[in-house]
Amino acid sequence: MPDTGILPHLDLAPVKRRRGEALGAWLLTLPAVISFVILLLLPTLAAIVMAFSDFELGVWPPAWIGLENFTELLGDRGFRQSFANTVIYVGLVAPASVGLGLAFALLIEAGTRGRAFFRAVFFLPVVSLTVAMASAWQYLLHPTIGPLNTLLRSLGVAGPAWLSSSDTVLISLAAIGVWENAGFNMVLFMAGLTAIPRELREAAAVDGARSAWSRFRLVTWPLLGPTTLFVVTITLIRSIRVFDTVAVLTRGGPNRASETLLYTMYTEGFTFLRLGYSAAITLVFLAIVLVLMLLQTRVLDKRVHYG
């Protein structure tokens, strides 16, 4: 502030104003800050602390047991199975639903007719009550009365017991997961596609890219890079969270063949009330999510940046 001594009251105004602004800002953010601390920050920290304790509901006080929960996790066959199931499930759902989402988006954007209609059709699972639709899937996949196996029977094939055989249960759940996620990914890809200037595709055509495929390779795919990376990350995170279909359709069965991370965490915590152990699983889950996000930002900074 210039110390000229002239009209000092003019110099004071901004100070007063700034103080008022800061006060107002704090008042405006206060409700959010309080609820953030109580409902988000403290519980997260508490979950971390719990993971290092033997906290069980009804047993007080809990003891500090260091890394014991995590070493138990390592040796726990149930958890290892659950972890492996989650990896397989994600490995099936993510590529398929990303690929299908992109295919839907490209097919819809390729022409003018039927756009709104098909977009709505593919998007429907996103706004559908998962629990209810899981029941519909259960009927569809029912070993004896389900339409799918009835159809297979009429073709002379004996269909498996999709959801109650340990061989097919993960594949069946993954199919439902793909069905749920593809429309969501489609919408994200469509947003990404509209961000690509039409002139670029036209320039590619004039420059000699004759086939739709060569235009896709030259323009669409590279420019969709950031969108694709984002869609892949978000799909990975969404599919790691798989819970509803497992809880409704299989309860992790048969014989833990479909137990996944969040479901294991839920049963350990809320069925067996081993909160410390359950918190440790939560931290594993959190760590995976954080690593995925970190990878995304790294790749985004490095590769898909056009300056």
């Binding site: 590619a204 420059d207 030259l218 590279p222 056009y306």
Partner: protein, 401 residues
């Protein structure tokens, strides 16, 4: 004055008789041509029976206000858009149904449409890789191992370096478009367009995204590139100064129609249509409601003028701002406002309620509110009928006392 007494505006008559053929391009087999293109979108006519011919080596500017259909016409030539009817020929070949890639055209887009993920060199190389390498050879990683790929790629690289040199892009080849200035991007787009020596060269307002100073210098660059390539060049612009300075011929387009195709001089001096006359020229040409009497003598608000019209009834007298002269016998005018612009002055006046502009050297001094009498160089004056078409005119026999 004496010599021009029976002076006839001969060019006007010629233009009147054959408005579309004021300069016939040579050789129907080379260059590009559009024949009777029609296009409507959603019931709205965009192109109304448009025909146009650009000879090999010729530079034609397609000039018109925004929304007149000029960009659409260019896209029809490029094959990005299909016309409802009509034909397009490039290099003597009928390409009406051909894919853009098969038309031997190159285009500079208004937004340049550079591939943001490719370097300058890769951008320029795209038309070459698309034609010289097959699908397998273009594949990433694997493509390099395909037979013949290495030699072809080396050739492409050499050609890119050769093409980038004259445009001053040699030191920028490894940059991405996002790291370039507007002028540099524009030159990359030019380089990409001309790299494979196209038969037809299309440019859609390539200068509109540049600042004023750069625009003027880039004009020359584009003309030079055009001369070097020797292609039939079609250049879309809404900026008349670009069209006047760059083009061999100008096609003035309005509301989906080409009104006149002619050299810049003819477009300026001998417009066949009132819309052409008032679109070209800055400040705008002065339009005065006039009346052609029984013997064709043209009067403005009752005052006689030295012109005789070939038509009768209400006409429009059009006079360019620089064509006014002081004339004691002329039309009475009152000065309303003057703008000093350094090398010239624009004087705004009224002739019988109609606003007119006079452009003068620094010599003339006027004061606001002053009354003057304005005459005009009669061979420069233009007459238009009620339908906007040009009417031939001649100098009246001297009726002066």
């Amino acid at each position: 004055m004496e010599a021009s007494r029976n002076w006839r505006i001969a060019a006007t008559v010629a233009a009147y008789a054959a408005p579309m053929n004021s300069a016939t391009p040579p050789g129907p087999d080379s260059g590009l041509s559009v024949e009777r293109a029609q296009l409507s979108l959603g019931g709205q006519p965009i192109l109304r029976d448009v025909s146009l011919r650009v000879a090999r080596g010729e530079f034609v500017a397609l000039l018109g206000p925004s929304g007149c259909g000029k960009t659409t016409l260019m896209r029809v030539v490029a094959g990005i858009q299909r016309a409802d009817s009509g034909r397009v020929r490039i290099g003597g070949r009928d390409v009406t149904a051909a894919h853009p890639a098969e038309r031997d055209v190159a285009m500079v887009f208004q937004s340049y449409a550079l591939y943001p993920h490719l370097t300058v060199a890769q951008n320029i190389a795209v038309p070459l890789t698309m034609t010289r390498l097959n699908g397998l050879q273009r594949m990433p990683l694997l493509g390099g191992m395909m037979p013949g790929s290495r030699a072809a790629r080396a050739g492409i690289q050499a050609d890119v370096a050769r093409g980038a040199g004259p445009l001053g892009l040699s030191h920028l080849l490894d940059r991405k478009p996002g790291q370039l200035s507007g002028g540099q991007r524009q030159r990359v787009a030019l380089a990409r367009a001309v790299i494979r020596a196209p038969g037809a060269f299309l440019m859609d307002e390539p200068l509109s995204n540049l600042d004023a100073a750069l625009r003027v210098t880039t004009r020359r660059e584009i003309v030079e590139v055009h001369r070097r390539v020797g292609a039939a060049t079609l250049y879309v612009t809404h900026d008349q100064s670009e069209a006047l300075t760059m083009a061999d011929r100008i096609a003035v387009m309005q509301a989906g129609e080409i009104l006149q195709i002619a050299t810049p001089e003819v477009i300026y001096r001998d417009p066949v249509d009132l819309r052409v006359a008032s679109f070209i020229g800055s400040p705008r040409i002065n339009l005065l409601a006039a009346m052609a009497g029984e013997s064709g003598e043209v009067r403005v608000a009752g005052h006689p003028t030295p012109l005789r019209s070939f038509a009768r009834g209400p006409v429009t007298l059009a006079i360019r701002p620089e064509d006014w002269v002081m004339d004691a016998e002329g039309l009475p005018a009152r000065v309303e406002h003057a703008e000093f612009l350094g090398d010239h002055t624009l004087v705004h006046l009224r002739i019988a309620e109609a606003p007119v502009v006079l452009r003068t050297g620094t010599g003339l001094r006027v004061t606001v509110g002053e009354s003057l009498r304005l005459g005009f160089a009669p061979e420069r004056a233009l007459l238009f009928g009620a339908d906007g078409r040009r009417i031939p005119a001649e100098l009246r026999e001297p009726a002066r006392a």
